[in-house]
């Protein structure tokens, strides 16, 4: 028997990340300076960690209800109302998940059946396409362009819609580009969607990390509220990536089937993480503000530096990434990253890891100390100069 042949064909055919080779190369070079990390450099604020420890001391080591602690769901709703003016009922419109990732997977699995088309603006986070494929759906990328600041335009959306379109993924603030959508830009998208039956999965995991402008959600629009699935979590806002905790908010008729899958696949999200998250949503607003202020300083430094180096870069207003164009070097993204790693020992991520339309760009994270950022920028500058 050949074991390989027995594996589910959908999984076998699923494209592994196109930059596997590059990852392997990075792994062999632990001394490299990295700007490749997609998580905060801050450790989880102490009062949140302490709440997790305290919950263990109290012996809260059992399952919680499938949808998560009622107190946590209630505080998530208070938080969303307080920070983003979004109203959800904690009793039947919130599900606590294992990271935003599980929320994405659940949403796609619950909504998508064979042949359903899912619109995915790209460049964007890597998991939407494989999740759609696993559900038997058809991923339909929508290319977003630098000249539009990598925003989803109503024209591009209109063009991509077919009678089979079931779901639009709205990945803003965006990883890897740092693009955001303003209220008016969302309004234009709503105008296209309002006469359709298309659902929206709004991945707002970076909602707290915007600069100079407050994040707006498509769920604010009354005509979209009941067919928007809001995905978010604690990882980025509170530097809690390792706790693996997220949530999804939507109409009760969407949360119910999501909870059904969650109940069979996961049972309930980690209890200790839920208690820590409860402290975070209740008392973490100041932590967010402090981290955002720090990210903003670094953002300005790295944005300015890339433009000076000659790698043109549009100003990102969200998340903690810059997405400079490397087209002026004449190199492909992957070659640029491999050469940069070999010659100057700096690791950044090739843009095409986030969809074909990311070719010609690199993603650099500024979730690093200003000293590390400066060191990396010096080396990138040397690299670019030596290839002129």
């Amino acid at each position: 028997m050949i074991i390989k042949d027995k594996i589910n064909k959908v999984i076998t055919d699923m494209k592994p990340s196109g930059i596997r080779k590059f990852f392997d190369l990075v792994a062999q070079m632990p001394e490299a300076i990295s700007l490749g990390v997609g998580e905060p450099d801050f450790v989880t604020p102490w009062h949140i960690r302490d709440a997790g420890i305290y919950s263990l001391e109290k012996g809260h080591t059992y399952y919680t209800s499938n949808s998560g602690l009622a107190s946590l769901r209630e505080e998530i709703c208070n938080y969303l109302d307080r920070r983003f003016n979004l109203k959800y009922n904690y009793k039947n419109e919130v599900l606590v998940t294992v990271g935003g990732s599980e929320a994405i997977d659940l949403t796609i699995r619950a909504l998508i059946s064979n042949g359903d088309e899912v619109l995915i603006p790209q460049p964007s986070f890597v998991c939407y396409v494989p999740c759609v494929q696993m559900a038997g759906g058809v991923p339909v990328p929508i290319v977003t362009k630098e000249e539009d600041n990598f925003k989803l335009t109503p024209e591009a959306l209109k063009k991509a819609i077919t009678p089979k379109t079931k779901l639009l993924v709205l990945p803003y603030p965006n990883n890897p580009t740092g693009a955001i959508m303003t209220y008016d830009e969302l309004k234009a998208i709503v105008d296209v969607l309002k006469d359709t039956d298309i659902f929206v999965m709004s991945d707002e995991i970076y909602a707290e990390l915007t600069y100079g402008t407050k994040h707006r959600s498509i769920a604010e629009f009354p005509e979209m509220r009941d067919r928007t699935i809001l995905v978010s979590g604690f990882s980025k806002a509170y530097a809690m990536t390792g706790w693996r905790l997220g949530y999804v908010c939507a109409h009760p008729d969407i949360i119910a089937p999501l909870t059904k899958i969650h109940q069979y696949a996961i049972m309930s999200s980690p209890t200790v993480s839920q208690y820590a998250a409860l402290e975070a949503v209740k008392k973490g607003d100041n932590d967010i503000d402090a981290m955002v202020s720090e990210y903003n300083y670094r953002r300005k430094v790295i944005f300015e530096a890339f433009n000076q180096i000659g790698l043109e870069c549009f100003e990102p207003l969200g998340a903690f990434y810059v997405f400079p164009s490397i087209k002026s070097t004449g190199m492909k993204s992957n070659d640029f990253c491999e050469n940069l790693l070999k010659e100057q020992k700096v690791a950044v991520v090739p843009g095409d890891a986030f969809g074909e339309s990311g070719e010609g760009y690199i993603r650099c994270s500024y979730a690093y100390s200003i000293e590390a950022i400066n060191r990396a920028l010096d080396r990138i500058d040397k690299f670019v100069s030596s290839h002129k």
Partner: protein, 160 residues
């Protein structure tokens, strides 16, 4: 704007002026003008390195001294404080509320040296009524910096 410049420098005195300018949307010359002015006004005093001496072979002791002091008419505690802070052995002097009046930090080569300094110089000073000496045994955190914290980045080098 001044407070923002100061907060940045308080965290990292080595931050270059052109980077402060970028961070605060100012021009370099504006930043330098403010820093110059704040130095002249005695707001910006000095930049120093924070050192974990325990990792070196330098031997010295630090003590915190609580002083009870009788305030002087018209001078309050200022006159006494002034006489104390002139000594180079004295590293800090604060007027505090609570069970005592003046908190002094002293450095010396040995415990005996510090104890003698307190006995001979501070305890005998006019208006000083009593002293209580606490030797510092271990520093865990100073000026917002945790001494045992390793700067190592535990994150995986690339994550998407």
């Amino acid at each position: 704007m001044r407070n923002q410049i100061l907060s940045l420098l308080e965290q990292n005195a080595e931050l270059k002026h052109d980077q402060i300018a970028v961070m605060l949307d100012m021009s370099v010359s504006e930043v330098e003008k403010e820093i110059q002015a704040m130095t002249e006004e005695g707001i910006l005093l000095k930049s120093k390195a924070l050192i974990n001496w325990e990792k070196t072979d330098r031997e010295f002791v630090t003590a915190q001294i609580e002083l009870k002091v009788t305030p002087q008419r018209g001078e309050g505690f200022d006159k006494v404080a002034e006489r104390i802070y002139q000594y180079p052995e004295v590293k800090s002097v604060y007027l505090v509320s609570g069970g005592f009046d003046i908190a002094v930090t002293i450095e010396g080569k040995t415990m005996k040296e510090v104890a003698l300094f307190v006995a001979e110089k501070l305890a005998t000073m006019e208006y000083v009524n009593s002293t209580k000496t606490h030797f510092i045994l271990k520093k865990y955190k100073q000026d917002g910096v945790i001494f045992s914290q390793q700067g190592k980045d535990e994150r995986v080098v690339i994550s998407l």
